[in-house]
């Protein structure tokens, strides 16, 4: 049986004046119905580009240069824009980072909800409004009837993000891609929004791709996790496994830098030294090697492949492999 979504060896390039740069370098992951996947990594790691390439909406001058995206077994990465439109906002919805910028300021909430339904279903305005109302109730918006005639600026950030979630539910999608859905919000509201997303995934058996730089959030919400570094997935596996027994030194560093989440009790909270390289000056070998405490000569020469390290985890590290005594704890 095919997976709901399968990204196979995806490569995304940006055609810049001085030549192409590779923003995503061979990313692969799978998602099944109702499954929740976390995509984590530092700023610039390529999380958003990965998210947008699933619905083939990478901002110019980006393009998919290699690999495939399969949705329900169909290769949607080779679809025309016309065909892709039937999937965007219909079977696969997106939630953007900043709810203040996402809704069009000059149209009412009702207008923006109705048009979304009508873009995908042959339905009257009244019928569409009924669905909109139902979804607004589902995201626990107070006095939903009133919201339909309101403009975005009349609502708070948290309320707007709830509305955007309601918009993404309108067509009962199979997948929601949420790109840092809470980064622009207050801490208390962040938790509410995450709870809501979890609740909806459970009640509607929706799959979720949660993009965030916050490993803490991912570990609470998702079943699977993909850690990205400089355009590559460097560790991929079940969340509880990866969070408890990180294999790649980068993942390990990320986990150690979460407050109250130290791997070995008694260790101090540590920041990974140095910075992630920009795409134009990725070092030869393993991109993480200048910051790595396990670095050996081989790390500066050959790029490690993503390989099975046991317990359903895949990692790309020369120093960590199946049976090295570390991963089978």
């Amino acid at each position: 049986m095919s997976h709901l979504l399968e990204v196979r060896d995806l490569e995304v390039k940006f055609a810049l004046r001085f030549g192409d740069i590779t923003a995503i370098d061979g990313a692969s992951f799978k998602l099944d119905r109702g499954e929740k996947l976390g995509l984590v990594g530092e700023s610039g790691a390529g999380k958003s580009v990965t998210g947008f390439s699933i619905i083939n909406l990478i901002s110019k001058p980006g393009y998919i240069s290699k690999g495939k995206v399969l949705f329900e077994g169909k290769e949607i990465s080779s679809y025309s824009d016309e065909q892709m439109r039937k999937i965007r906002g219909n079977s696969i919805s997106m939630i953007f980072q900043d709810p203040m910028m996402t809704l069009n300021p000059v149209f009412t909430i009702g207008f923006q909800m109705v048009e979304t339904i009508q873009a995908h279903r042959n339905i009257s305005k009244a019928g569409a409004e009924k669905i909109a109302l139902e979804k607004l109730k589902k995201v626990h918006i107070p006095s939903p009837e009133q919201r339909l005639s309101q403009y975005p600026h009349e609502l708070s950030g948290g309320m707007r993000q709830r509305i955007i979630i309601a918009v993404s539910l309108l067509t009962d999608p199979a997948i929601i891609i949420a790109d840092e859905p809470t980064t622009a919000l207050d801490v208390t509201i962040q938790a509410e929004i995450m709870d809501l997303l979890q609740e909806l995934c459970a009640s509607d058996n929706m799959a979720l791709i949660l993009i965030t730089h916050d490993l803490g959030v991912v570990s609470q919400v998702t079943e699977k996790i993909a850690v990205m570094y400089a355009g590559k997935i460097i560790e991929y596996g079940p969340t509880d496994q990866v969070v408890t027994y990180p294999v790649h030194p980068y993942t390990e560093g990320l986990i150690k830098s979460i407050p109250g989440n130290v791997v070995n009790p008694g260790e101090d909270l540590v920041q990974i030294p140095g910075m992630m390289p920009t795409l134009t000056n990725i070092p030869p070998g393993c991109a993480f090697n200048p910051r790595c405490y396990l670095r050996q000569a081989v790390c500066t020469k050959t790029t490690p492949e993503l390989k099975d390290v046991g317990n359903s985890v895949m990692a790309a590290c020369h120093m960590r492999y199946k049976g090295d005594g570390r991963t089978n704890q």
């Binding site: 919805s93 997106m94 996402t102 149209f107």
Partner: protein, 327 residues
Amino acid sequence: MFAFIIRRILQAILVMLVISLVGFSIKNSIGDPVRDLVGERVTPKERAAMAEKLGLNDPFSTQYVRFLKNALHGDLGTSFIYRKPALEVILKHAPATIELVLGSALIIVIFSLPLGMYTALKPRSLFSRFVMGFSTLGVSVPVFLTAIGFIYLFAVTWHVLPSYGRGETVDLFGNGYWQTGFLTIDGLKHLILPCISLASIMMPLFIRLIRSEMMEVLETEYIKYARAKGLSPMRIWFVHAFKNTLLPVVTVFGIQIGIMFAFTILTETVFQWQGMGFMFLDAVQRADISLLIAYLVVVGSVFVIVNTVVDVMYGFINPTVRVAGTK
């Protein structure tokens, strides 16, 4: 919304007061109301008596209040050249100018909207490059050159369009006030060259403005989101991007229409168009101060009224302003 309208109207009244004060100060220092009434062939003694009778020796403030009162009753002084109330002279010339401005505004809207949007949506196409190049050229060519060029080509060389006057006009309301050129073929033909000439001043500005606004809007998150929702390109361009592009353009359009009234002076002179601009130049040449000031006040009012109306309209289409006005 109501409070917003009231506030805009109060602002408009304030601006009008300033304009009238400036106008009156000029008139007070260099105008000669006695000459306006009786001409130059009177003795100094008669003039002095006349001045006293007209209240010209009263303090400035008293005279200004009187000027305002008269202005409110439609009395803006008497034209020396026409020997008629200045306002009547202006109103007689206004329809010609209004039709010229209206025609030009129409041409601007019809051409700059599609051109501006097209060059924003397809910036790399050959046609877009041509339009942008042409509009750069358009900005730098003065209006009288464009006008003379048009006359030379269309009137002198090809004999397809008339080059001066308004042609055959129709009495619009049957009371002799408004002669319109919009209702006859000949009148329309006469409108073409002057309108295009006048429009050519603002056209490049609008194409560029619409283009840059549209390009900016197309880069926003909400447009990207509209695409992520699966909306069609047509809907994204002509509903989502269009309205956001238009908002700032409408305001600028209002201001520019006002400014166009001033630009009519050149156009009307070149095309011998018997409007307010033509009249203004005549008044300057023959030092008809009362008529000049009346022109200043009338054109100032038109400018202020157009701007106020545009602002209120803007308030209706932009939901953000509407709330700011009511709260």
